[in-house]
Symmetry: D2
Subunit: 446 residues, 4 copies
């Protein structure tokens, strides 16, 4: 019997106790009052069966809420389960009278919002972790409109960073030998280059491809993140070619390059709890061990912010007439646009602009492009730019079809990571460098 | 490749960076200064390779310390890595000026001793959890002499309660099919009834016995706690009989009773992080499933505090002359004592006294005996008293050889647990009740 | 490294030897002469690397043959690798001169066709078992036209019965957690009620269904046979209802009946090597253990020979005018036939005829219906007849849509099996018995 | 539920049938008559439950026999279950009348001793394979005194060669993580260099050692054969040094040589069914993969026949006076012998004689030494001779303490195997060659 079945049976005993002694649940609809009572009971319960049962009940209640009820519940968390200002006042007074470390500890404890303990107790129930991930998924989009919920998010983020610490992550190879119920989720979760169904998935798991995912023991049937890899001879320049290529099993022995062409986070509720970093590096090590002929590891990545930035440059009147003419309609899907422009000319204008964007456009001291920030932070460098790298409608709109390879050199990755994090250094490969106009001669008007 | 090998390789890259750039480690002896520097670096490091490397180095440094160095290190943790009183002062001022939840959060954060973050970071390194368990093992015995270390202990206890939460525990059956390196540890860790070697162990793992242990993913080769069970017809009355009985494989089918005759915590550094509770209940469920003929589940438990309490009663002059004569030398090993007293008379006097001890002697509102507190808190009841239950020298000295069966009735265990925790109710079985003199007629002089 | 990778590497060394020393393979097309040479070498080889390499080469050669080449190869096996009549003559002479057990053994050995040894050696190569299963798959349909191949079949059947002995079979539960590459094969191999794709498969693997397959270590990725089970309340009467029912996960707890509604052999080359028998009984035991509420185990089976037999009866003028009128068009797909007859009347006539067929029509001393022979031999009894049990075109044509439940009562199954095998006894359930006219009053004219 | 539990339950049903219907077993002692009846029933049974029950009963009956009863049983097997001479006569007559392949097949079948079918049926029962291995273990030592049993042995050998074919063998690493019940067996089965207990075993499984065993699915808890390997820098010259060396975990990274210092067959009843060959080569491949720094693979082997051969040479007067003087007492345990001779002089005389023995002494066209035959047949070459390689009493008596390294070069091993098997070629390494006197100048008088 595994621990979850055991916990569930403890919870079941607890529910009998709840029913027998309190008669509070029978026939009641889910309502804030009831949830409030459940949460209070959960926070004050000493017995473990009751505690587990209450945690399950809170989780069930939350999962059954509609939008309106969830909003009420978040208000409850923000207000009622925030730290008590009276108690904090008292603790400050005590501490200032007598500055012992015990009094300081007391102040620390009573300034912690009780909802943290509430979350910890929910997390212990079977399925509790999953419930909290869902809770955060609902919470995140509300933060703009409800700034008072930010404190809840801060607490959840703090706890989840500890619960999902990398020591608990388990890397698993995903292939056609993987259980169907996991594969089915990949089809759903693929966020970068959509899968059309089982046949499409099967091609991405063939012998000339690799796929790996991270799992966590508290959500054992849910991938947290997965990466898709194509084995290649030389750098891959087009994601459409990767997706439509005939299977070539011989590549396992011959390939010298592994291309990471898709990385998808699976759990919206874990946004900001970073796994991708470890995933890529651990996959590089796995691949090196399995396929010793591999010498290059690179992504084939979208450049999601390029067109947005470029439009801003155009509006700021930074492009010349000639440039503008060459790139007219540059971000339209190909079939609509291709008639109206000379592709070679557009390429000659857009590639340096894209290099400019990747290398010089910043948000604070870090690159403006979010994908770029992610890989550079991991210790990658910027490599080759690829014209017509992604000719899908989405690819054209985001980046005029241009894609970029970020290069992972395992021997340098830690050093580059430190350089980037501490000193904002961005490394580029030779293939990229050629597009960079000398500072004095930028492709944009200053 | 598993995550630990990966983390180790990340740590290795980090160490090269450390060596290459800082040259701080070469040829230096372990010293407080160095450790202080390492801890500062660890707390301030942003890069993950460096962070993991530093965490490893702190762990290694700690593991290499001698007693003197450890003491210095604990002082460092208590003082330097306690919360900064200046910053707390400032945060209080801010908060009192403007009582926002952001300012309260800031106060909460800066009142947390930085050593908590230090411990969290060490915990992420490969082997880090184990190191912190050792650290606490060294720390616990020092608390009496160094009350300033209590705050460190409070922090560790808080963190470990969360890290070792029951959702992560894995129950495993231990038998002769278990890997030898685990079995070897059972021989070392058995704390109640010592094992003399592999042959003794083998008997305890035979077909008429069961043994189960809890494991945790962060210390995968270390049992946390284990319990030994004997299958019996009726209640077992003597631990010596259990340990020396011939193997009877037929008991698997015929036994109606499972006797938990030994529970051993394995990790001194996890003292106070309770697992025994879950262990017993989960084992009861496992056994019910495997052996549906089992109807009774009980311990055969020592009564460690009985003789100590009885000596106190004697000194307080609570026993009659006649009682004293009957029990003269009662706590001596049998071979030395048996000549000097009439066993039947001693039994007649000692058994009611022992029942009195178990049922009426209290520490606060809970029983005085620690083993009793443990089982009652779990939801057990007090069952039969067994004369000559443990005739080893230790058994005679602790409890004049008397042992007691605590009874686990899975259908009642959660209710009893709640009654005990909330209302201090102690349930006793009929077999025990007969020894209890009516309140008005206690076996002690008042 | 598993043994197959090792054997493959041994085979590879052997191939280098073959190439280096003999130069026989380079540039040659697959041809009988070459295969003959390979087989001769394989039979005479003493070294194991060479032997394994040769076995692989024979297997590869066979797998590359076209129809014509296979026919030549079967002739080769029948003639060249049959027993040598000269040697047999000699061995008989020796034995008759001196009737020692050594001489008898020699006669036994030399009367064994050398192809048996050839098959044994091929069987040892990686993939060898699979190759021989394919070989037999090609061979079986040729036996009518080429009676000289029967001796090859006899040898293969003899060897396969021993290789696929039940001690090596591994029962596995198939569900949505099963690797995709296995599931894909179920879609292909389903022989009774066709699956339309992944969605259809998924429904058959939902929580109110069970599916089990047998695997063999020498063909680890190939199911040998699988059975599909529906959990039900009471006997299932219609296969279309089973296939189209909404998923009802609650059935796991409530169902009292398990219906085996589809059993598919997966390997045409293993025809006549019986697994279904063990599969059903072992699945019954698995289900009893998992779902103790199940009390009835029955099939919902086709009656493949009913219409064929009934046509023969009609032609032999055994049916009355009235019967004939009632069943006019009885074996047409429903949409075509339903207008032309009164269903209740057809039912009243056809059900007793079908019972007659199942109970009294024989081939030798055993039932004429092959599915009936299979289940009765396993120890089942004949249960309820179901009108409109399978209204697919195939179901209408085979048996006018009638299906039958065979009942497996594990407590009686072995006894019934012995009674059936030894004394031709056929057990029927009460529900079936009612359709059986008394012998003197059969529904057919005599 | 695994297949064995299922088979056992089938056997149990069968036993109930046996008891209920035949009442033959109650109260009867094991006796030849009963076993004969059981075997007859088993051979003639058609039903599978009865068959499995009967097979179990035969196995149980055999396992309960005393020496006398076993002898009777072997006579029964040899006579009653040999081929029927009458039937053979008839089949010969049929065949000679009409030489069809069906008649030849009939002759083949009836010349097969029925005990083969008996053994096959016993083999299908749970535990049946193990029983037959025991049966052969008892049988083998009787062959000299009872030549009429040779035919039984021939049949068993034939069947076991097929049942234990290498495709079914599973290689497993044995270390301190291996279940205790397996380790316990290694202590018992170690045949070359005895183990004194758990501590000795533990040393042999430390990080600078490797141990591997073969297992078979029909005897899953019994190792068939195991090999012990020491990681070394350069060739190991002394087995005592290997056994007593301090553990050096660093050797895993640094060692360039793997020394196979002990190979033990575990099952006396499988004598002559060769596994050692595959074991060594597969272990070499495993080690190459795990420890890429390893460059040399060699044994440190006893030379069991040297002293026996040398005594024969002495008696045949082939040694000179001087040689005899130098080696006086050469095969005595060191402490007794060392006084009486000059070790350097003895070495100078004995080493060339030993080389002579290994290289030139033959049995037919193959080497006289059995260990040498084994390794040369595997494709090894003869390497370095080691003076004082095994100074145990056994080592001194067998080979005057000399040991030899056989070298496995995986690139050459298959070629050498073929050369040895086909052309009797024996390869020697340079280190060995130097001891070989030129043919014309042998160290023995001709």
């Amino acid at each position: 019997m595994n621990i979850n079945r055991f916990l569930r049976s403890v919870a079941d005993s607890g529910k009998l106790l709840l029913r027998g002694e309190r008669r509070r649940f029978v026939g009641e609809a889910v309502s804030e009052i009831r949830v409030e009572q459940l949460c209070d009971d959960l926070l004050s319960s000493k017995g473990e069966a009751l505690g587990t049962a209450l945690a399950c009940s809170v989780a069930e209640a939350f999962n059954a809420m509609n939008e309106r009820e969830r909003l009420d519940f978040f208000h409850l968390l923000a207000e009622r389960y925030g730290a008590s200002k009276d108690k904090v006042e008292q603790a400050i007074a005590h501490y200032q009278t007598n500055k012992t470390s015990a009094n300081l500890h007391a102040l620390h404890r009573c300034s912690e919002p009780p909802r943290q303990e509430l979350f910890r107790r929910i997390n212990m129930a079977p399925g509790g972790t999953q419930t909290l991930v869902h809770l955060r998924e609902y919470l995140l989009p509300l933060l703009t409109d409800y700034p008072e919920f930010v404190a809840i998010e801060t607490d959840l983020h703090h706890l989840m960073t500890s619960w999902f610490n990398r020591g608990f992550l388990r890397l698993e190879r995903i292939d056609w030998h993987t259980p169907a119920f996991i594969l089915e989720k990949l089809i759903t979760y693929e966020a970068v280059h959509e899968m059309s169904g089982w046949e499409d998935l099967r091609r991405r798991l063939a012998d000339d491809r690799r796929c790996f995912a991270f799992f966590h023991p508290a959500m054992e049937h849910e991938p947290l993140i997965f990466v898709e890899v194509a084995l290649c001879q030389g750098l891959a320049e087009s994601v459409q070619k990767i997706l439509s290529a005939e299977v070539d099993p011989g590549l396992q022995a011959q390939a010298d390059t592994a291309i990471f062409y898709s990385i998808s986070d699976c759990q919206a509720g874990l946004k900001g709890i970073s796994f991708g970093n470890f995933l890529i590096k651990q996959v590089v090590m796995e691949l090196q061990q399995e396929l010793p002929n591999l010498q290059h590891f690179a992504t084939l990545s979208p450049i999601p912010g390029f067109c947005r930035w470029l439009h801003a440059q155009i509006e700021a009147n930074k492009l010349s007439e000639q440039q503008l003419r060459a790139i007219d309609g540059f971000d339209q899907p190909i079939q609509e646009a291709c008639q109206s422009r000379d592709s070679a000319e557009a390429c000659a204008v857009l590639m340096p602009l894209c290099a400019e964007y990747l290398y010089r456009a910043k948000r604070g001291s870090k690159p403006l492009d979010p994908v770029s920030r992610f890989h550079l932070r991991n210790g990658a460098s910027i490599g080759q730019l690829n014209w017509n790298g992604d000719t899908s409608a989405k690819g054209m709109r985001q980046s005029a079809g241009i894609m970029v390879n970020y290069t992972y050199n395992l021997g340098l990755v830690e050093e580059r990571h430190e350089d980037y994090v501490n000193d904002n250094l961005v490394m580029v490969e030779k293939d990229f460098y050629k597009y960079l106009a000398p500072e004095s001669n930028a492709c944009l008007k200053s």
